[in-house]
């Protein structure tokens, strides 16, 4: 029962428009820094473009997807209209206006600091204000999700919260808490300098704050994808979800251990002690656990669907799956990319292996494979699945959908595998151009060209995706029926209160953050002599 279709559709459309624009920039960046291009141009355009691409893809696009999908889940799974409709619209406009406010100085070249900010470099204050507006807008969603769950629970005291809603609320709590790190960095460190109230900043502390956000933000991006794995895929292929309880445990594990691990991004940093780096490394290992559990549950659920359709044999059932179904195709491709990306992630989590790839193109390859690959391909699937229910018109270009998904997958592999490879060769990231004529780096030239070709494939796939959606908007009206989520194989009659609420998990999340971040942050805050002069970027313009 989707009542606020316009609200949800607005989130999705804005998200995909932002995505399309950022995708063009991404493909341009791939091309222009490759040997296919004669590199005689102003490098500032590249950094401007990377700032826009990163801010749009990292902050705006996934946030809007999580918000829009979250509202859809609330209405469809709780079977009642969203509580706080006006607030939801306010959140949407904050995100939209924030995105514009941030992008104006970026496109003028006044804030080419990349989306990871990099103080003591400081750009135009409106860039940071825009980003804060986006985050504050999303915090309205963060508040609305638990409120809707609480209202529903009061009305249905004896029923377990539907899995999709439980996971959705887990995602909102996760984001609410993880965004605090970057918010503290921007509001208390960067903005006072950008506005000219202060002229020094502790770059080391800023990096610690940012790491608090930087890793768990990936799990915030990931949660809509996992929700789709658990609650859309089994229903879409006519099967059952293998286990409801294990799904809840996976989402709970994300809430608890996604946060206190961010310092693994700072393994090579001089301002954090080795002991805390080790502690974060241990918890980084733990965060692989929910993913391992998920892969099992999803494969088992697919097997159930296949056997219901008559699939036989230890592996023969794989062939009996409905491969023409775009949701299944997207999930399968997503899991393959998650597998490769996850393996790379296990390498990054160990200090010793990380040293050989830290800040090389390996890392760029890694997070593009995980986010751009495994996560975004499921955003496509979510849109394909939800669209007929939002527009009241059928999506019928299944062939085009499958082509689009395959192209995205192939493009992502062609882009990121060479990236990983040149990373091992030691190619540094975030450079506007490279002189491939130099024998020291000429062996990297071919791989970089490959990546650029992959970028072009991704762009083509992105265009196809938008064509499918636009066609859907123009198709003749047809009633899609109620939007439903998967049903578990064995619906538990009773659910332990721990798997139906968040109090305990939030307490653990905050407690672990205090244990793992408390001392490093407190110590750097009292250390005054490491406040260094800000370096203003774009000020001469």
């Amino acid at each position: 029962m989707l009542t606020n279709k316009r609200l949800i559709l607005s989130h999705f459309w804005l998200a995909f428009i932002v995505f399309g624009a950022a995708l063009v920039l991404g493909a341009w960046q791939m091309f222009e820094r490759s040997p296919l291009n004669a590199w005689h141009f102003n490098p500032e355009f590249y950094y401007r473009s990377v700032t826009a691409h990163g801010s749009a893809m990292g902050y705006v696009f996934p946030t809007l997807i999580a918000m829009g999908f979250g509202y859809a889940i609330t209405e469809a799974s709780l079977e009642k209209p969203l509580v706080g409709r006006r607030w939801a619209w306010a959140g949407f406009f904050l995100v939209a206006v924030g995105a514009v406010v941030a992008m104006i100085p970026v496109s003028l070249g006044l804030a080419s600091v990349l989306y990871t900010f990099y103080p003591p470099m400081v750009g135009n204050p409106f860039y940071y204000i825009g980003v804060v507006m986006v985050v504050v807008g999303s915090w309205i969603w963060v508040a609305l999700m638990p409120i809707n769950m609480a209202v529903w629970k009061r009305e249905n005291p004896d029923k377990p919260v539907p899995l999709a809603m439980f996971a959705n609320v887990a995602g909102s709590y996760l984001w609410g808490w993880t965004a605090v790190g970057a918010a503290l960095e921007i509001i208390f460190q960067i903005l006072p300098v950008a506005l000219g109230l202060k002229s020094t900043i502790d770059a080391g502390l800023a990096r610690v704050f940012f790491s608090w956000t930087l890793h768990a933000i990936v799990y915030f991006w990931l949660i809509p994808t996992y929700i789709a794995y658990y609650t859309i895929l089994p229903r879409a292929i006519g099967g059952r979800l293998y286990s409801d309880a294990m799904a809840r445990i996976s989402f709970i594990l994300f809430v608890v251990v996604a946060m206190p691990i961010g310092v693994h991004h700072l393994f090579a940093d001089p301002q954090v002690g080795a002991g805390f780096k080790f502690m974060h490394s241990v918890f980084t290992g733990l965060v692989a656990l929910p993913t391992l559990l998920t892969v099992f549950t999803i494969c088992a659920s697919a097997e159930i669907a296949s056997r219901l359709r008559g699939g036989r044999g230890a592996f023969g059932w794989v062939r009996a799956l409905p491969w023409q179904n775009p949701i299944l195709l997207a999930t399968a491709l997503s899991l393959v990319m998650l597998g490769f990306g996850g393996a790379g992630g296990l390498i990054n989590m160990s200090y010793q292996l990380d040293a050989s790839v830290h800040n090389t193109q390996w890392i760029t390859g890694h997070f593009h494979l995980i986010f751009g690959g495994a996560i975004v391909i499921m955003y496509f699937a979510i849109a394909y699945d939800l669209w007929p229910h939002l527009t009241g018109r059928a999506l019928e270009s299944f062939g085009l959908m499958r082509t689009q998904l395959w192209l995205w997958f192939t493009g992502m592999i062609v882009t990121t595998f060479p990236w990983h490879y040149v990373g091992i060769l030691g190619m540094p990231r975030r450079m506007a151009f490279y002189d491939y004529a130099n024998p020291a780096i000429s062996p990297q030239a071919f791989s970089v060209s490959m990546s650029a070709v992959g970028g072009l494939m991704l762009l083509t796939s992105g265009v196809l995706f938008l064509i499918v959606l636009i066609r859907g908007q123009r198709a003749p009206a047809s009633e899609a029926g109620a939007y439903r989520f998967s049903v578990p194989l064995h619906m538990p009659a009773r659910i332990p209160v721990a798997l139906n609420s968040f109090g305990l998990w939030l307490a653990l999340m905050i407690g672990l953050t205090v244990v793992n971040y408390g001392y490093p942050i407190a110590q750097l805050m009292v250390l005054n002599e490491t406040n260094v002069p800000a370096v203003y970027v774009g000020a001469s313009r």
């Binding site: 590199w39 002991g275 002069p533």
Partner: protein, 263 residues
Amino acid sequence: MSEQKLFSVRNPWFRFSVGVTAAIAVLAALTGLIWLPLAQPDLKLSGIWDAICSAAGVPRASSQGNPIQPDFKTSNVVMTSEMLTRSNQVSIGRGATLAQRCAICHGPQGVSDANSPNLAGQFAAVTYKELNDFKTGARVNVVMSPFPANMSNQDMLDVAAYYAYLPRVPSNQLDVKLAPPPIVVTGAPMRNVPPCGSCHGDIDNKAGSPWLGGQSAVYIKAQLHAFASGTRRNDISQQMRNIARQMTAEEIDQVARYYEAQP
């Protein structure tokens, strides 16, 4: 579903999750803060407390032996990005008076044809730094060195503010259509030459880097050669020597001619 109490040791979920999380955290802390540091022979720890402090990251100031002192004067100016970026009318007025004795070489309006640097519209931080370096002897020039010798810090700030206030005047060689040579646009990355404009103001400004447009080609060329050969060493921590010594004589010529023709 409400009969069970969540935060209670009788709830197995509570017992298990809190217990396991705490156990992992304590084990990780013991390993990371005590065991691992004690296993590092290079650290030369004096005991468990020292191990904990070093692994937790308690900072200490770096102090390593007796540094070798330079056998030449280095610049003692501390440059920051926001230095002298706000104009001050009183300072400009005082600077105008003081600058009268500079006019003979640098022109009455901060522009001259004498192949000495044009100062009109120059960043205040740059003029101030160079005056200071001439005064301390970090930069030496037979004609220029005597002038700042008796200037106070305020005098130097005022003169810098005055020249920053004057409008830039294009040189006689102005030719905006002149195509920039590759060394200006992209530098030579593998030789550690970034684009000139990433510091000198046409793309971005690094504190202490002068605006080059309209400077005499003879002057630019002479300075680049001086940096390259090490006869000029007042650039802090070799920031300009590193670049100039990697440039070919031809590139130096191109850069000098290009910037002379710019506004």
